[in-house]
């Protein structure tokens, strides 16, 4: 499968074969990393990380991935320190940065910014989040985490909990899960239900979906519980946020009804939706999930650079 020069913009651009291929390469790289400590596939290659809005976790994960591949990194972590402040267009910034680098990772507050960047650039562009639209590398690392934990994705019952209305991670994850034989429980306050068009799309693709507000009643059914933060910054209206703030908390009492094998995921950062007491249980998979970002992003960087 030729990934050299390919852009990674949206889960919608992937086939199931694409996803499986990336997950397999990531698994191979993780094994190699464990054996050798560091790799040199991307020696001499430069990654530019263009973070027009802050995201320490995603940026560090990409940087770590590039360093572990033997490459180097340039970039910025906020638009305030760039010529964007002087009124430069995104297209011009991209055309400039591509002269200095071999691959670009972009995080931008506007939806569609990564797609535009990819159209402008001749080198591969990887979307590290465009507004409330897509975050495809997060989705791939989520799938990778599930696959590593269970050895499979097919046949699992997965609950998505929290802000299903504004949360882009759950939108993309649900779209990607539609490639697999899974049953989905969408657990959220009424105000934060998954958008209708996404549910329709998933149903058309044959995914069995249940919508509910009841976490405790649903938890015994689940193999994976994917928790999301109710993101204050995504609400157009503060009053709406206050109505749903703190709707759910996953704690040891709630988990009493869960299967022993239940694994809890969270794209992080969390606020109060998972109690820290859960961290010490076998259920907690979210820190392992953070680690998954490195091999998955190594795979994407290496493949798009054409060095793997």
């Amino acid at each position: 499968m030729d990934w050299k020069g390919r852009d990674v913009i949206s889960v919608r651009d992937f086939s199931k074969e694409d996803i499986e291929f990336v997950l397999n390469v990531a698994e191979r790289l993780e094994t190699e990393l464990n054996e050798k400590g560091a790799l040199d596939y991307a020696k001499g290659k430069i990654l530019a990380t263009l973070f027009f809005e802050p995201s320490t976790r995603t940026r560090l994960s990409f940087e770590s991935a590039m360093h572990r591949l033997g490459g180097s990194v340039i970039g910025f972590s906020s638009a305030a320190s760039t010529s964007v402040k002087k009124g430069e267009s995104l297209a011009d910034t991209i055309k400039t940065v591509e002269q200095y680098s071999d691959v670009i990772v972009i995080r931008h507050p506007m939806e569609g910014a990564a797609r535009l960047a990819a159209e402008v650039a001749d080198i591969p562009v990887i979307n590290a989040g465009d507004g409330s639209n897509q975050h495809p590398t997060q989705t791939l690392l989520d799938l990778y985490t599930i696959k590593r934990a269970f050895g499979r994705i097919d046949g699992l019952t997965i609950g998505l909990l929290g802000d299903l209305k504004y949360g882009r991670t759950v939108h993309s994850l649900a779209e990607a899960l539609a490639f697999y034989d899974v049953e989905l429980y969408l657990i959220s306050p009424e105000l934060l239900r998954m958008p209708k068009h996404i549910i329709e799309e998933l149903r058309e693709k044959g995914v069995r979906i249940h919508e509910t507000t009841d976490l405790e009643g649903t938890i015994p059914e689940l193999d994976v519980l994917y928790v999301t933060r109710i993101q204050r910054e995504r609400f157009p209206d503060e009053q709406e946020y206050l109505k749903v703030k703190g709707s759910y908390q996953v704690n040891c009492a709630v988990l009493k009804k869960a299967k022993e094998s239940l694994r809890i995921m969270h794209p992080l950062p969390r606020v109060d939706e998972i109690h820290p007491e859960v961290d010490r249980t076998e259920h907690a998979l979210y820190f392992r999930q953070v680690f998954s970002g490195v091999p998955v992003r190594m795979a994407l960087l290496g493949l798009t650079l054409g060095v793997l």
């Binding site: 535009l116 465009d130 507004g131």
Partner: protein, 151 residues
């Protein structure tokens, strides 16, 4: 059936089979309602064998561009376009919603990059009935009402 009491045009375009009530919208999106725009005739709520009721728009001295035909398709997918030369229909075709809509529709998402940076807007048709399109950039879907408001 009562005879249509509108004048025939010598040269121009007749847009027929517009869903009843959409004729004014067709005039608006083609920007025909401007002074010095030439003769324009609108027949509304006309009996139609196919549609029950329909609107008809006649425009003298104007032939539509592909872009204009695509715009009509988005708001009046049943419409037919008749090109009139010397009082006779020289050409007749049905409008068709294209698979991709380029450059004629604005994204309704205020945070879409296409509303802030220089781009040519592009949408993919997700469904024709009801009409639903997806923005190439922000991937948000727009339904009929939003499409009409952003033409």
């Amino acid at each position: 059936m009562a005879e249509l009491k509108v004048t025939a045009i010598r040269e121009g375009t007749v847009i027929d089979h517009i869903p009843a009530g959409k004729g004014l919208k067709v005039i608006e999106i083609l920007r025909l309602n401007r002074p010095n725009g030439g003769v324009l005739l609108l027949a509304s709520n006309v009996h139609s064998g196919k549609l029950g009721r329909k609107d008809i728009v006649k425009i003298e001295g104007k032939f539509l561009s592909e872009e204009e035909v695509n715009k009509i398709a988005l708001i009046a997918p049943t419409a037919t376009v008749n090109i009139v030369r010397d009082y006779k229909v020289a050409e007749k075709f049905k409008v068709e919603v294209p698979d991709e809509i380029t450059g004629i529709l604005r994204c309704a998402n205020p945070n879409c990059v296409s509303n802030h940076e220089y781009t040519v807007s592009k949408f993919y048709v997700v469904s024709r009935e009801p009409l639903k399109v997806r923005c190439h950039y922000c991937e948000r879907t727009m339904e009929e009402e939003e499409i009409l408001g952003n033409l």
